[in-house]
């Protein structure tokens, strides 16, 4: 495997640089049937979804604490294997976005999804929940079209601090 096919994202991330643009530029140079391997401190699902739209299928392998190896193949299929499932979480299992239960609520990560899937996934999750559930949304843009629909089903949105380039929202039912 030549050096060009291996790209370690960790130095960039350590410097606080978003590696998305650099990776996309490298990926553009990969021809049909070509491969690319990324090393990252976490499983970069949003990045993998962006690359999937460029025709890359990817698998993620955890090699140790803080070390993930992402193997990408430009096969035109754009499969993102090993997406976190919504098992152990309430709501539909076919949201198309990973949902994880954490101490502060259900986290749904819709970054990298094409419109209108972020909005649809969030609303489908909210509509399936009962009681005083809280949903934390990880988004890559301000979802302006989501708010009228949220208001209609009695939910509100508050901004939370997020990582650079992320819009993070706390959604709650019945708060005014």
């Amino acid at each position: 495997m030549s050096d060009n096919t291996l790209f370690d994202l960790r130095p960039l991330l350590t410097q606080g640089i978003d590696p998305l643009q650099t990776v996309v530029e490298r990926a553009r140079a990969v021809g049909a049937g070509g491969a690319l391997v990324l090393l990252a401190p976490f499983n970069p699902l949003p990045l993998r979804r962006v690359l999937a739209q460029m025709g890359f299928s990817s698998t993620a392998l955890r090699q140790g604490d803080g070390e993930w190896r992402i193997s990408l193949l430009r096969d035109g299929q754009g499969r993102v294997e090993g997406e976190p499932t919504t098992e152990d979480c309430p709501g539909p299992t076919d949201l198309g976005a990973p949902v994880q239960r954490q101490a502060d609520g259900l986290h749904i990560d819709v970054r990298g999804l094409e419109a209108p899937q972020p909005m649809v996934a969030i609303l489908r999750l909210c509509a399936s929940l009962s009681g005083d559930a809280a949903v934390i949304v990880h988004h890559d843009r301000d979802p302006v079209y989501l708010y009228p629909e949220l208001a209609e089903i009695g939910w509100t949105a508050d901004p939370l601090p997020g990582t650079p380039g992320e819009v993070r929202l706390l959604l709650r039912r019945g708060m005014t």
Partner: protein, 430 residues
Amino acid sequence: MFRDFLAGATGRLLPASVPFRFFGAAVIFHLLGWATLVFAADDLPGFLGGPGLVLAALHMMTLGVAAMTAMGAAFQLLPVATKRPLRSVGACKLAFWLFLPGLLLLLWGMAEDHTSAMDAGGSLAVSGLLLFALLVADNLRQVKDMRVVTEHVWVALASLVLLVVLGLVLVADFSLGFLEDHQGVALAHAVIAAYGFMGMMALGFSYILVPMFTLAPQPDGRLGRRSAWLAAAALLLSLAGLVHGIAPLLWLAGLAGLGAVGLHLWTMARIMKGRMKKALGDSFRLIRLAWVMLPLSLIVGLAAASGLAVDRSGPLFGFLLVFGWLLSMLTGVLQRILPFLGSMVSVRPGIKPVLMSKLIAPGALRAHMVCHFAALALVATGIVGAQGLVVRLGAVVGLAGALAFAGFAANLWYKLSRHMNPRPQPAENT
């Protein structure tokens, strides 16, 4: 809370006045279109083209309702979907102010058979449409994702350029008479306009709007993209077939069109099957009607192309295409988009957003839907039976439906204005 957070978000939205001016104009042209058809009823059975009230009524629906709605929806939806702002809000407004007076002049020229008015109005309207096309193309130029939507819109924009060229040729031919087959070119213009420009816009935006309205998982985009390519092939074949008068090409175009529509409807059926919202209301009754009318218009068009009772199948084809497919689809979509936009723009610091459900007038929308279904049935029957009186009755019912629809829009505007500008509470003890 919403009001605190959205105070910033509203600044990044296209000003509400931009899409609302297009949608408001569409609502008014909807009224004018049916009203004109009331007066043109006797001429509709057997209509095969040429200036007059029928031509004006058709263009009120295609340019006045369909193009206005497509422009408003594209300006509103694309920047959010593509994550890229439009290059200039002023240019969006200019497109409207070129298109509206141009269209009014063009319609008057068509109704009165006034060639100079058609020339001038057509040129102005075309300027507005081309400015719209440039803005949308500029926005889409660097978009790599959402290919199912963008490929439909690219075909729509290419169709727009074609229909503009054909339209200008037709208008020039009214005074110069250089075309050997004016009717063939007029039909090509109509097909490229209704199936190509407005139809491809409607089909493409359906891949965003239908999952959004129904809360359904995203369908496989590959089928939708194949549908777009097949539709593009059908449009090119129909253009060649109509301009050169080659019937086998028209048959091929019809079959390719039916294939494209089949793939689109199959994808829509998959979306509907997987939807979370079960009760979709009257808007989706209209959208479902449009999904029936689209392939039906193609089948009737094929019958007309094969020479089967052309004096009846020809006008019926045009009616099903414009009033059946486009008008049903667009009024169904407008029923959902107008309250949605109203709620979205109602967010102001210190004011709670108005709920979409508070902006809907269910009685008016039900009346519109019932009248629309009845009007389609009556006018189609009148065309087939060559009965001007039945067509007129259908047009009157359609006009009643359009009035109900205008009532819904006026009610929405009134409630939104009241919400945005609440009356000051009288001070106590005064």
